[in-house]
């Protein structure tokens, strides 16, 4: 018997709301408008251009020393290896196999959530970086010199990561999901994809260098690193320190393709939310059209899903581009390119808000499985009980549908107010006259209200 996890929307249940769901969109919009005017009146100097970094002192040496780095790297390699092994050798049931929950819930959702609070926690445990560094150290020991690398093409920037991000999501929600057709992402293809990605990543690291590729092309480093720019801690000159939260985001988008990464993040979450909700009818109609032209139902659904995923990417990019064009009309505005890059970081809190809103409940429920029966019986074959928790289950009463809704609304509001604040702060850099800076942000306010209402609509349609 095969079980399929409800990855697309976490759990769907009726909420007990005192007012219609759409009124929350009105309330959230009012909060944004009030925040906009409060920022215009009270925030007249840029405050996020300086990180105010302070070292945490000698204690950080323990965390950053070579033994700790080796240990963290080994943990990362072990967990990736375990996930691949479980995927290849374990049960086909996704909810009983360690691989899917670990790759697509614990890591894929956990790192953004915790990186946004703590900083770049993926970097020390990145298994590919650990292997790449070990290989580099081995080469130096044998050859007595550093390995030579190709120069990374500047124009490529973070585009490989943006495309890779869409590919990772495609594998989960299109190849594995396909709009209700019972294919579900089985553990084996997920493990095979992880193996293929590992080979590709290590080859790119060998070509361009470990740190260069992690900064630009390695999907997970770039994606989790983007959220870590919101976090409190970071490493500078080999020392761990604390900084003003959100302040490091401002210099994140300087590489080409960075806008595409953050747009891809919002678009992929939007598509995942809309696939079985707001867009379901359209996707089915398009799939029917392709099926009428000779494609199998599965292929037709996948083609249709892929088109809608790309449309989401184009749509989110277009909304942002309209905001940038609106700002460009304000006297004294810099070039369109400068505005596009200069305000891209304001979308990071929105991408995080979308992630929390769409996957918070899934994360809470699946992590109960992760830290009980999946750890005790990683292969899901009922043959091991390593920690005595193999027979444990998920407590679905831990969160009510109503409390999930309030978390979703709260996350969207806080994320968009955060984006609005970052945008206002950056506007004060480009327009030193605060009146003009505020005027330029009218259009970013429209962008934020659009993303808030769209996000709430997707959630309510998905729950409906």
């Amino acid at each position: 018997m095969t079980f399929y996890l409800p990855f697309a929307h976490a759990l769907i249940a009726r909420q007990d709301l005192p007012i219609p769901a759409w009124l929350f969109a009105w309330g959230a919009s009012i909060v944004l408008i009030v925040s906009f005017f409060a920022l215009s009146v009270a925030w007249r100097q840029p405050r996020f251009e300086q990180e105010n970094w302070r070292s945490l002192g000698a204690g950080s040496r323990l965390l950053l020393g070579v033994p700790a780095q080796v240990l963290f790297g080994l943990i990362g390699v072990f967990l990736l290896g375990l996930a691949i092994y479980a995927g290849l050798r374990g049960t086909e049931a996704p909810d009983r196999n360690f691989a899917l929950t670990f790759l697509y819930v614990t890591a894929w959702l956990g790192f953004p959530f915790f990186s946004a609070l703590l900083g770049d926690i993926f970097r020390p445990v990145n298994p590919w970086r650990a292997v790449g560094r070990m290989a580099g150290a081995g080469f130096r020991a044998i050859a007595g010199q550093r390995s030579a690398h190709l120069a990374y093409p500047k124009a490529l920037g973070r585009w490989p990561a943006a495309i890779g991000l869409l590919a990772v999501v495609w594998l989960e929600v299109v190849y594995g999901g396909s709009g209700g057709v019972a294919v579900g992402l089985a553990p084996e293809p997920a493990a095979t994809a992880a193996l293929v990605y590992s080979a590709y990543t290590l080859a790119m690291m060998a070509l361009f260098g470990v740190e260069e590729w992690c900064e630009r092309g390695e999907v997970f480093s770039v994606y989790f690193g983007m959220f870590s720019r919101l976090g409190y801690f970071n490493v500078r000159d080999g020392r761990l320190g604390r900084r003003r939260p959100l302040s490091a985001a401002g210099c994140w988008a300087t590489l080409p393709g960075s806008v595409a990464v953050v747009v891809a993040s919002i678009a992929s979450t939007s598509f995942d939310g809309a696939q079985d909700g707001a867009f379901k009818g359209w996707i089915e109609s398009a799939a029917g059209w392709f099926a009428d032209r000779g494609l199998s139902l599965l292929d037709a659904t996948r083609v249709s899903d892929t088109i809608f995923l790309l449309l989401c990417f184009a749509g989110v990019g277009l909304i942002y581009q309209l905001g940038v064009r609106g700002m460009h009309g304000v006297p004294g505005a810099p070039s369109l390119d400068k505005l596009r890059v200069g305000f891209a970081h304001t979308l990071i809190p929105i991408a995080l808000a979308y992630l929390v809103a769409h996957y918070f409940s899934l994360y809470v429920f699946q992590e109960q499985a992760q830290f009980t029966y999946l750890l005790s019986d990683p292969l899901g074959t009922a043959s091991t009980d390593l920690f005595g928790t193999a027979s444990a289950g998920i407590d679905f009463k831990l969160l009510s549908a109503t409390s999930i809704w309030y978390v979703q609304v709260g996350a969207l509001v806080v994320g968009h107010v955060g984006g609005l604040t970052l945008a206002h702060d950056r506007a004060l850099v480009y327009w030193p006259d605060y009146r003009r800076a505020s005027r330029s942000q009218y259009w970013m306010l429209a962008v934020m209200v659009t993303f808030t209402c769209f996000g709430l609509y997707l959630l309510s349609a998905g729950n409906g």
Binding site: S29, C453, F454
Partner: protein
């Protein structure tokens, strides 16, 4: 006679798009107003 409310759910998106329309209308209105006042302030040649 009963009202055809069975498919009302299909049009709920209108309630979600209204705040966006209101904000954009406000921006367009204030932009036009500012441009008009800027033109009025320009000295006549």
């Amino acid at each position: 006679m009963t009202l055809p409310l069975a498919h009302l759910g299909h049009f709920l998106w209108i309630f979600y798009i209204l705040p966006v329309i209101i904000v954009i209308a406000g921006i367009v209105r204030s932009t036009i107003k500012e441009k008009k006042s800027a033109r009025a302030e320009e000295p006549d040649d």
